[in-house]
Amino acid sequence: MSGDLVLRVVAKLLIAFMLLFALYVQFHGDFGPGGGFQAGVIAAAAIIFYGIIYGLPAARKVVPSRVVETMVGLGVLIYAGVGVLGIVLGGNYLDYFVLSGDPVNGQHRGIFWVEAGVAVTVAGVMIKIFYMFAGRGRNGEPEA
C-alpha cells in the first residue's frame, strides 16, 4: 500500500472516471472508436490502478478472485451463447438477424451482447494475470 496522500486522493478521483470511460467506450463503441476489448482493458486498468495504490488485499476485497475467474469464463459463454441463441431462433450460428423482428435491430442486439462478452472476458483475464503476478512474493513465496 502506498502511503502517499496525493497518490491516494488522486487515485480515488480518477478511478471513477476510468470506470465511466470504460462504460462509455463499451456502449459508444457502435458510434465512435472502441468496443468490448478496449473497454475491458480500461476497466481492468482501473482495478489494477486501485490495486497498485491501495495494495492487493484491498483490490481483492473490491473484486474477489472468484468473481474474476467467473468473469474469464462467463464472457466466452455470453459470446458463444449469442451464437447458440441464433440457432435456437432459427438462424445460423452467430447469425444476429434473427435476434429481433427487424434485422438491423437484431444486428444491434447481437453486437451489443457479443461486445459485452468480449469486455467481460478481457477484463477478467487482465485482472487475473495482475493478481497472479502481484500475488507472488519476491523470494518465490506466495503472499496470498
Binding site: G35, I42, G110, I111, T121, V125, E141
Partner: protein, 170 residues
Amino acid sequence: MMAATVVAIVAQRNLFAVVVLSGVYSFLMATVLVALDAVDVAMTEASVGAGISTVLFLGALYLTKGEEMKPLHEPWLPLVVAVATGAMLIYGTLGLPAFSDPEAPIHRHVAPRYIHDGLRETGVPNLVTAVLASYRGYDTLGETIVVFTAGAGVIVLLRRWRGRKKEAKE
C-alpha cells in the same frame, strides 16, 4: 523518434528504464496508428501496450533483479538472423501494391461491400465494430477464446507452482 527509442531500449542495461522506454514506444506507436486513421487499434495499443503490459513488466521486475546480465556470447548470430529476416521482409514489401492504392486486391474483395452496405445491414456507424462483431463474428469469437486461454494458462501454471511448493515443504 521510434528508432531512437528502440536503440535506447537495446543499449540500456537497467531493466526499469527498458520497461518505461517500451511504454514510450507503445505510445509513439499509438500516435502513428492515429495518423493512419486506425483509432480503434491506437486505443488498444495505448491501453494494452503502454498501460497493462507496463504494469505486468513492472510486476515481473519486482520478482527479479533490476539489472540485465552481461550476455554470455557476443550477439553476432542473433544479429545476422534479425538483419536477414528484416531484409527479407522489406524485400517482400516490394511486391505489395502501393500504399492506399484503390486497385489493390484487398480493396476489391469484401471491403467495398462492408463500406457500402455495412451501415444499412447492421445499423452500426462504426465500421470497425460492424466488421469485428458482425461480419467477422467467428474471428472475434476465436480471439476471445485466445484471451480466455491465456488467462486459463496463467491460472493453471501459477496454481500448480503453488501446489508444488507445498509438496516440497512436506
